[in-house]
C-alpha cells in the first residue's frame, strides 16, 4: 500500500529531483529531500551537491535518450559500408574506436547507461520496499522475530557484498542471461545486499518514534496497528533514506560493474554493460589499446561519482557537526572559489546566515 508509494517518491527524489529542480521551485517543493538540502547548503557542500546533481542528471538523460544518442546498436557489427573491424582506433566514424569483438565503443558506452540505470532503479526500489517493510514490522512489533531479524541482517551486512551478489547471480540466472533476465538477476542480487541497510536504519527510527506521545494517543483513540505503522510511524522514520539511497545507487553501479567484470554480466548481444566491456579490455590494455578500457571505465566513474557526491553532501548536511556554516565571509569566500558554482554560491551565503544561526540556536 503505502510502502511502494514511499518507495516511488523516494526513488524519484534520488533520481529525478535534478531536472525538476532546474525548472522551478514552488513553496511545497522546498520541503522535498535534496531540494531542502540544496537550499540549506553553502560553499563547498553546495558545490558538491550541485556537481552531483548535474552528473546524475546527465547520466539519467544519456540513459533515457540512448536510442537517440547512440550512433549504432549495442551489438551492431557492420553498417552499409561493411564491417566495423576489430580494435580500430578512434576515428571520425567511430569516435571512441571499436572493441576486440568489433562493436562500436561509443554506442556501447551510451547503451550501457540504460542498463546501469535500469539495474539501479530496480535494485534500489525493491530493496527499499522490502527493507522498509521488514524494518517497520520488526521495529514496531518487536519480540523474538525482531531479535532474529536483527541478527540475520547483521550477518548479511557483514557478508562481502560482491561475493553475496555473485552467489545470488548464480542462483538467479545461472550466470548468463538475456537483457531483462540479466538486469533483474543483477538488480535482485544487489537488492539482497542492500536490504539489511534499509532494515537497520528504518528499524532504529521506528523503535525511537513509537515511544513518542502522538503514537500513544493514536493508540488510545483506537487506531489500528497498520494505520499507526503507515501514517504515524513510517512518515516520521524516513528522514535518513535519501542519503542511503544515493550512496546505494553508486554502490549498485559499482557492484553491477564488478559482476560484469567477473563474467556475471549480461551477454554482449543482449545489452551493453560497462563491467563486461572492461573485462574484455584487460587483454587490450596489455597491447597498448587504450580506448576500449578508458571510455566504459570513465562512464562508470562519472555515474558513480555523481551519486557519491550527492550522498556525501547530503551526509554532511544531515550531521550538524559536519555542516558548513556561513559564519564568516572569509571562510565562505575561500570555499566558494573552489566550488563548481563559484559565482552563484556566494550570493546565498548572506541570506543563509541568519537562518543557519537560528537552526543552531
Amino acid at each position: 500500500m503505502t510502502a511502494p508509494e514511499i518507495a516511488g517518491a523516494e526513488a524519484s527524489g534520488a533520481a529525478a529531483a535534478a531536472p525538476e529542480h532546474l525548472e522551478g521551485r514552488g513553496a511545497w517543493f522546498k520541503k522535498l529531500p535534496v531540494v531542502h538540502q540544496l537550499r540549506q547548503s553553502v560553499g563547498l557542500q553546495r558545490g558538491m551537491l550541485i556537481a552531483g546533481l548535474v552528473l546524475t542528471a546527465g547520466f539519467v538523460l544519456v540513459a533515457v535518450l540512448s536510442p537517440v544518442l547512440a550512433p549504432f546498436g549495442w551489438s551492431q557489427l557492420r553498417d552499409l559500408d561493411g564491417a566495423f573491424g576489430a580494435q580500430q582506433p578512434p576515428s571520425a566514424e567511430h569516435w571512441f574506436g571499436t572493441t576486440v569483438g568489433g562493436y562500436d565503443v561509443l554506442s556501447r558506452v551510451v547503451w550501457g547507461a540504460r542498463t546501469a540505470l535500469l539495474v539501479v532503479v530496480v535494485a534500489v526500489a525493491s530493496s527499499i520496499v522490502v527493507g522498509v517493510l521488514l524494518g517497520l514490522v520488526s521495529g514496531y512489533f518487536g519480540g523474538w522475530l525482531d531479535r532474529m531479524l536483527v541478527v540475520v541482517a547483521d550477518a548479511i551486512y557483514a557478508f562481502p557484498s560482491l561475493l553475496l551478489a555473485i552467489l545470488l547471480a548464480i542462483v538467479i540466472s545461472g550466470g548468463q542471461s538475456s537483457m531483462w533476465g540479466g538486469i533483474f538477476a543483477a538488480a535482485l542480487s544487489i537488492t539482497v545486499v542492500f536490504v539489511p541497510q534499509y532494515f537497520r536504519v528504518v528499524r532504529a527510527e521506528v523503535v525511537r518514534v513509537k515511544q513518542e506521545a502522538f503514537v500513544d494517543s493514536a493508540r488510545v483513540l483506537g487506531t489500528g496497528h497498520w494505520r499507526i505503522m503507515t501514517r504515524h510511524v513510517l512518515r516520521n522514520s524516513t528522514r535518513t533514506l535519501p542519503l542511503i539511497i544515493t550512496l546505494n545507487a553508486s554502490e549498485a553501479i559499482l557492484t553491477l560493474a564488478g559482476l560484469g567484470f567477473l563474467g556475471f554480466g549480461i551477454e554482449p548481444t543482449a545489452a551493453a554493460e560497462w563491467g563486461y566491456d572492461l573485462q574484455r579490455a584487460v587483454a587490450d590494455v596489455t597491447s597498448g589499446i587504450w580506448w576500449t578500457a578508458l571510455f566504459p571505465g570513465l562512464a562508470i566513474v562519472m555515474a558513480a561519482m555523481g551519486m557519491t557526491l550527492m550522498g556525501e553532501s547530503l551526509n554532511d548536511l544531515s550531521d550538524p557537526r559536519l555542516r558548513s556554516r556561513a559564519r564568516s565571509r572569509k571562510v565562505a569566500g575561500a570555499v566558494a572559489a573552489t566550488s563548481v558554482e563559484a559565482d552563484t554560491s556566494v550570493a546565498p551565503v548572506d541570506t543563509a546566515e541568519p537562518k543557519q544561526k537560528g537552526d543552531d540556536a
Binding site: 541478527v151 557483514a158 542462483v171 596489455t286 573552489t338
Partner: protein, 331 residues
C-alpha cells in the same frame, strides 16, 4: 554478551552460502552437465554423495568446515583446503600492501583535510577521495597498468614474480607463499626488487580505493575532536598547532577509525578479487574468477565461505580491540 554474537553470525553466513549454492542444484551437474551422459552424471553425483538427503549433506558440510574439509574441486580435482592455503597467502600479501598504502595516504591526508576543513586543501582532498571511491578498482588497475607498464615500461604488466626469480626461489627452497619473504630468502637483491616491482601497481590500485575511505573517516573524526573544548583549552595554553593535531585531537579520533577500518577488510577482500583478476595476481580472488568461469561451485563455495568467515572474525576482533583501546567502552 555482545561478543557472543560472532557464533550465530558465522553460523548464518555458512548456512547462507550452503543454501544458495544448493538452490542451483548439485555442483556436478552445474560443472559437467552437457559434457557427460546422464548415466555418467548420475554415477558421479552418487560417488560424491550429492543424492543423499539435503540435511545429511548439510551436517557433513558443517562438520567438514570444523575439521578443515571443504570438499574437492570438480574442475581440477584438488582438496579445496589446499587451494585455500596455497592462494590465501597471496591474497593476504596483497591485502597487507594495500593496507599499508591506504594508511600512508589516508591517515595523514585525512588529518590535513580535517584541520583545513572547508578550505582549499580539504576541498581538493575530498574530491580526490570521492574519485577514489567512485573508481572501480579494476578500472584504476587497468589505467595504472596502461600508463606505468605499457607506455612507460616502469613496472611489469602482470604476475607476482618473473620466471628467473621463481627459479631462484625454488633453488633456495623458499616457498612460504609470501613472495617478499621468499625473495629475501634467496638473498639476491635483484629478486627482491623484481618482487617489489610486481607488487607496486596492484597494491597502489587496491590501496587507493581504501585510502579514500580512510581519508574520509579520519577527516570526519578529526573534525569532531578538533571542535571539542579541550582542544581550545590546549590551544590557549600555547600548545603548537602541529602537536594539537597529531597528539591531542588524534587519540580520541582513533577509536571510531579502528572500528570502521576493521569493516574495510570486507571491502578490501572484494577489491582483492577484482584487483587480482586485473593483474593476474594468483591469489584467492584470481582463483575464484577462474573457478566461476569453470562453473566449479564446490571451489567457489569454499573460497566464499572462507572470505566471509575471515571478514566476520576480523570485525569481531576489531570490536574487542576498540573496547580495549577505549576506556569508556566496557562489556
Amino acid at each position: 554478551m555482545r561478543f557472543l554474537l560472532i557464533i550465530p553470525t558465522v553460523f548464518i553466513l555458512v548456512t547462507t552460502v550452503f543454501v544458495l549454492m544448493r538452490a542451483t542444484g548439485d555442483p556436478i551437474t552445474a560443472a559437467l552437465g552437457g559434457r557427460l551422459t546422464p548415466d555418467q552424471l548420475a554415477e558421479r553425483i552418487h560417488a560424491a554423495g550429492y543424492d543423499r538427503p539435503i540435511l545429511v549433506q548439510y551436517w557433513e558440510y558443517l562438520t567438514g568446515i570444523f575439521t578443515g574439509d571443504f570438499g574437492t574441486t570438480i574442475s581440477d580435482n584438488r582438496p579445496v583446503i589446499e587451494v585455500l592455503s596455497q592462494y590465501g597467502t597471496a591474497t593476504l600479501e596483497l591485502a597487507t600492501y594495500a593496507v599499508i598504502v591506504a594508511l600512508l595516504l589516508g591517515v595523514p591526508f585525512g588529518m590535513v583535510g580535517g584541520y583545513f576543513r572547508d578550505r582549499l586543501p580539504d576541498a581538493v582532498l575530498r574530491i580526490l577521495a570521492i574519485l577514489a571511491y567512485a573508481t572501480p578498482v579494476f578500472f584504476a588497475g587497468l589505467l595504472l597498468k596502461l600508463v606505468f607498464s605499457v607506455w612507460l615500461g616502469w613496472f611489469p604488466v602482470a604476475g607476482r614474480v618473473s620466471t628467473d626469480g621463481e627459479i631462484e626461489m625454488q633453488i633456495a627452497g623458499a616457498d612460504s607463499g609470501f613472495m617478499l619473504v621468499d625473495a629475501f630468502a634467496t638473498g639476491d637483491p635483484a629478486v627482491v626488487l623484481d618482487v617489489v616491482s610486481h607488487a607496486v601497481l596492484p597494491a597502489a590500485a587496491l590501496g587507493l580505493l581504501t585510502a579514500g575511505v580512510f581519508l574520509r573517516l579520519v577527516r570526519t573524526n578529526m573534525i569532531g575532536t578538533l571542535g571539542a573544548d579541550y582542544i581550545d583549552a590546549a590551544r590557549s595554553r600555547g600548545v603548537g598547532e602541529r602537536r594539537l593535531v597529531t597528539k591531542h585531537a588524534w587519540r580520541p579520533a582513533l577509536i571510531p577509525i579502528i572500528t570502521v577500518a576493521g569493516m574495510q577488510i570486507a571491502m578490501l577482500l572484494v577489491g582483492a578479487v577484482l584487483t587480482e583478476t586485473t593483474f593476474e595476481w594468483r591469489g584467492l580472488g584470481f582463483q575464484l574468477a577462474e573457478y566461476l568461469q569453470a562453473r566449479d561451485f564446490v571451489a567457489v563455495q569454499g573460497i566464499v565461505v572462507l572470505m566471509a568467515v575471515v571478514v566476520a572474525v576480523t570485525n569481531f576482533l576489531v570490536d574487542i580491540i576498540a573496547a580495549l583501546v577505549d576506556p569508556r567502552v566496557r562489556y
